[in-house]
């Protein structure tokens, strides 16, 4: 049983079209001058040359998802009593996520720990997760805003992927990494390419060699805790932040959501939608009290969550994959790398100060 195939670039679109019968195929396509994951249609084309503007997370965690629909019925005699029927709308069908980058694929595992955990299983997420096959394209190099290497990943990392594509001239070597990946590759008419595995590995190693030596953000979760009380630091860090949600919505690892009821006459639905911890309204309570009243509090939570809270709870894994979308798409070019580096430095300085006390 061969698990490696060679995909000619021009064969990809017809293949995806074919797969569309069995799967919901999501692939990066051009939309205006951005690249977004959308359901694949041949006329939309496919854009594999650059990192998509939006992450692939919507395949597993759609921006808007109905949790249940409800309908009401009434008794016949007055006073008419209303009874309410809830109909959960669990997702069905297989999903093929094609053309994710290693960072996005890695992010799926970050979701898994939360949505498919020991105690709690999110039925909507798990249904999609179980039905999804992820075909990842290894990056040919890092963009200026990329920092996967500093958060435990790499441009060719296969974590979270079912199939890894490595770019060669005129096509890609596709290597199945999981049962699902093998199932997908098994039935293809693509050329078997076990012989190209070594060449693919060489390509990946060359890409890895290009990755610069930089300080890692790993293992800082405890150090950062010492900055919790230093609101002045976070004030300064967040001064240019506009409190919009571009960073969180474009982040492959941000998974916070809102739940709202949207009624429509006597029926309606309860939906969950992406939400944004940088917004003041995220934590605003009915009484008017807000535990995170300023953007400094919110920045502390965002960076804290990714680099301290989540790793504390989940085996030191950072909730950041270093895709850099939050940097390149920020209206004020806020650079989370600088912020984290600065925080680590500051924490170290604080620690030293305390040592002298």
């Amino acid at each position: 049983m061969s698990t490696a195939r060679f995909l000619k670039a021009r064969d990809i679109a017809p293949w995806l079209e074919e797969l569309g019968r069995e799967y919901t195929v999501l692939a990066p396509t051009r939309h205006g001058d951005t690249v977004v994951f959308r359901e694949f249609e041949p006329e939309r084309g496919i854009e594999l040359d650059r990192l998509s503007t939006t992450p692939a997370k919507k395949a597993l965690l759609p921006p808007c998802e109905t949790l249940f629909e409800y309908a009401t019925t009434k008794t016949d005699t007055p006073p008419y009593r209303t009874s309410i029927e809830l109909r959960p709308t669990l997702p069905e069908g297989k999903i093929l996520l094609f053309g994710t980058r290693p960072c996005d694929a890695r992010a799926m595992q970050i979701f898994d720990r939360v949505y498919d955990g020991e105690q709690v299983k999110d039925p909507y997420y798990t249904a999609r997760r179980n039905a999804a096959t992820i075909v990842t394209l290894a990056c040919s190099g890092q963009a200026g805003t990329c920092f996967c290497d500093r958060v435990g990943g790499s441009p060719v990392d296969a974590t979270g992927s079912d199939v890894l594509l490595t770019p060669l001239k005129a096509g890609y070597v596709a290597e199945a990494l999981t049962e699902k990946g093998m199932e997908l590759m098994r039935d293809t008419a693509f050329m078997k390419a076990d012989g190209l595995r070594q060449e693919a590995l060489n390509v990946r190693n060359r890409i890895l060699e290009e990755v610069p030596e930089r300080t890692s953000f790993l293992d800082m979760e405890r150090n950062l805790l010492s900055l919790f009380g230093d609101l002045g630091f976070w004030d300064k860090t967040a001064e240019s932040c506009l409190s919009c949600g571009a960073c969180t919505y474009l982040c492959p690892t941000c998974y916070c959501f809102n739940i709202t009821d949207e009624p429509h006459g006597d029926s309606g639905k309860r939906i969950r939608t992406w939400d944004n911890c940088m917004s003041s309204q995220f934590t605003l309570e009915g009484s008017g009290h807000n535990p995170r009243p300023t953007k400094a509090h919110r920045m502390r939570n965002r960076i804290g969550h990714k680099f301290s809270y989540y790793p504390q709870l989940h085996d030191k894994t950072l909730a950041c994959v270093g895709c850099g979308r939050c940097i390149s798409n920020c209206p004020v070019s806020f650079d989370i790398r600088n912020a984290v580096a600065c925080a680590i430095q500051h924490a170290a300085a604080n620690a030293q100060e305390h040592a002298h006390d």
């Binding site: 006073p79 008419y80 006459g265 006597d266």
Partner: protein, 652 residues
């Protein structure tokens, strides 16, 4: 909320073209509707009892009535549910009569539309909250605008009831149109004999302040607390000093002043007291005719005045009056007959208006009560009266009947015969309209006892011939053309809205119709109220009226004011704006757009916040649209309520 829906048949008014049972059936499925039924007459005693019973039996805490317009019965039903112990604001109406059954023929479409209207009423009601009025003090003074017979009656009734009255009159004397009349129909009693004493009562009443030669400049505030600015025009005479002796008039060298009181039959002196019974009896200088004021020399009156009351330097003054209610009694004006070219367009001296004729009949008038032709001073023998000049005529945008012309023409033919026994009166008429006590009998007398010849038909032209006038018309009863040679022609000009009525209505924030007559609250049930609380109507400003009707309305308006003032405090309409402090960012945009200055900026925990002065807020909702974050909401017309209505109608 447990909502009850009551769909009224209104006899066959609604049920004739709307399937009311189906509407009630559909209402049962709407959210929070716990009871729905159709009912024969919701507003009737048993209909209301049915609502109350249902509230009690099914524990309803909100009610929708689908019936006529809320302008008709909203207050009725609010009281009904109030009697059942509900907050009266947990109520909505769906107008399925005026807006559905009366205007649509297709029963299926009507029924469907009625269901929609009930649904939006339910959606709105679901978001209603119980509201409670707050009370505010009222200023128990009343302003009456216009000192004609209606205004005089209203002022005296109010004053006799113990209220302080401010009477504002545009002319230098009160009395209005009635003071110009010689006699009144159908009793033919002397107009000034019956009006005069009432005018004197105004002058002498301790509770009445009279501002003559004055007009309302602006009205601020709201029911119970109006703040009115009154402009008192310069009279150039110190009225404190003027005794009304009239010596100034005798010596005034300028005799070119307009004689408005005498309907421009001749001119008068520049300093003038319009007529001997004027109230106040004070002289006024016409600045356009006064030689001193136009050329800077003369001053005859000043030299002569025994009390040195002349003040050539006098200017307008503005006085401020605080009142709790306003009665508009601004009367009417006469149609400008010169629009009719066929009647000479004003070029023929012996074609006069009925009011000019009235002045000629009057012993205190410009001719001393002698009927003469303005052109040559000769006594006329053949006199033609033409009816409906500026009434019932679409071509001059006066399609309405002025109501009193038939009667005064009959009176004038009678008086003509009295003045000139060998005269002959001819009356061209369209129809004779004489409903009223002894009215028809009166017109009969004019014809039968006084020999007035009534010809049914329109006059097509009046042409001068040999110093007389040929009046050509058609006798539509005989079906033949008619030609009468007349010495004098009297045009029965119709009534039209008083000049400036529209501008005053805008100041008072009341509506007026296309002709400028003020709109009453309801054509039948609220004849003297307006839709603006605290503003009432009396007399012809609402539409042409004869004297008894005007007097009745004056009294009616006064009694409305008395009723309003019988309470020490008024309850404010709680459907006013309110601010959600949490959402308000203190940008003050609402305060800048509020037409009433009802929004103040205050501080709450160091942050600027808007705050609504509830008794000043009138509930227009301009602020709610201005506020971008929706922090200020008009209660019972909140964004969410209106959005719920929109969403119900457009469910995509």
């Amino acid at each position: 909320m447990n909502i009850g829906v009551f769909v009224c048949h209104c006899g066959s008014n609604i049920a004739g073209t709307v399937d009311t049972e189906q509407v009630a059936q559909a209402a049962r499925s709407f959210p929070e509707v716990a009871f729905a039924t159709d009912t024969m007459y919701a507003c009737s005693e048993p209909g209301q009892a049915g609502i109350i019973d249902a509230i009690r039996e099914y524990g309803l805490d909100g009610v929708v009535v689908a019936s006529c317009t809320p302008r008709m019965h909203e207050a009725t039903f609010r009281k009904t549910i109030g009697r059942a112990g509900l907050n009266t604001y947990l109520f909505e109406m769906a107008n399925i009569r005026e807006h559905v059954s009366w205007i649509g023929k297709d029963k299926e479409a009507n029924t469907n539309k009625a269901i929609d209207l009930v649904q939006i009423a339910v959606e709105k009601l679901r978001r209603n909250t119980a509201l409670f009025s707050s009370e505010f003090e009222i200023n128990k003074r009343v302003m009456v605008i216009g000192g004609g017979v209606a205004g005089i009656q209203a002022a005296l009734d109010c004053a006799d009831g113990g209220l302080e009255v401010v009477l504002v009159e545009r002319e230098s004397t009160i009395g209005g149109k009635m003071a110009k009349l010689d006699k009144t129909f159908p009793t033919v009693d002397c107009s000034s004999c019956i009006l005069g004493p009432r005018m004197v009562d105004i002058a002498q009443h301790p509770n009445i302040t009279l501002h003559a030669m004055a007009e309302v400049e602006s009205v601020d505030g709201f029911v119970g607390n109006f703040d009115v600015k009154v402009r008192k025009k310069a009279t150039y005479v110190d009225w404190e000093a003027c005794t009304g002796c009239g010596q100034c008039m005798e010596k005034c060298p300028s005799r070119k002043a307009e004689d408005r009181f005498n309907e421009h039959v001749g001119t008068t002196t520049a300093i003038n007291i319009p007529f001997p019974q004027a109230i106040p009896k004070k002289a006024v200088i016409d600045p356009g005719a006064c030689i001193m004021l136009t050329k800077g020399k003369c001053g005859a009156c000043a030299k002569l005045c025994p009390t040195q009351a002349i003040r050539f330097e006098q200017e307008d003054t503005v006085v401020q009056e605080q009142v709790g209610a306003i009665i508009a009694a601004t009367g009417y004006d006469l149609f400008d007959f010169t629009l009719y070219g066929e009647y000479g367009g004003g070029r023929y001296p012996d074609v006069v208006t009925s009011m000019q004729y009235e002045r000629m009949l009057s012993a205190s008038g410009p001719t001393g009560g002698h009927l003469v032709r303005p052109s040559d001073g000769k006594e006329p023998k053949d006199i033609v009266f033409i009816q409906c000049v500026g009434s019932r005529d679409h071509s001059v945008n006066r399609p309405y009947c002025s109501g009193f012309c038939c009667m005064y023409t009959a009176k004038q033919t009678i008086l003509t015969k009295d003045h000139i026994p060998d005269s002959q009166s001819y009356v061209f008429y369209m129809d004779i309209r004489s409903p009223g006590k002894l009215y028809d009998e009166f017109t009969r007398r004019a014809m039968e006892e006084y020999g007035a010849k009534y010809i049914r038909g329109r006059v097509s032209t009046i042409q001068p011939r040999n110093g007389r006038y040929v009046v050509k018309g058609a006798d539509t009863l005989m079906g033949s053309p008619v030609e009468i040679e007349a010495d004098l022609v009297v045009l029965a000009v119709g009534a039209e809205a008083s000049r400036g009525a529209g501008a005053l209505a805008e100041k008072l924030r009341i509506s007026y119709d296309g002709y400028g007559f003020f709109m009453e609250g309801h054509p039948k049930l609220k004849p003297v109220e307006t839709n603006t609380a605290g503003v009432y109507l009396a007399g012809s400003c609402q539409g042409p009226k004869d004297i008894p009707s005007s007097v009745a309305q004056g009294s009616a308006a006064a009694s409305k004011v008395q009723a309003l003032f019988s309470r020490d405090k008024l309850a404010s309409d709680p459907q006013v704006s309110s601010v959600a402090l949490q959402r308000c960012v203190g940008c003050a945009k609402c305060a800048s757009t509020c037409p009433f200055g009802a929004i103040e900026m205050t501080e709450f925990r160091g942050m600027p916040k808007a705050s609504v002065v509830e008794t000043v807020c009138q509930g227009c909702g301009v602020c709610a649209v201005t506020c971008p974050q929706g922090a200020i909401q008009l209660q019972h017309f909140t964004d969410n309520q209106i959005l719920a209505e929109v969403n119900a109608l457009c469910p995509y």
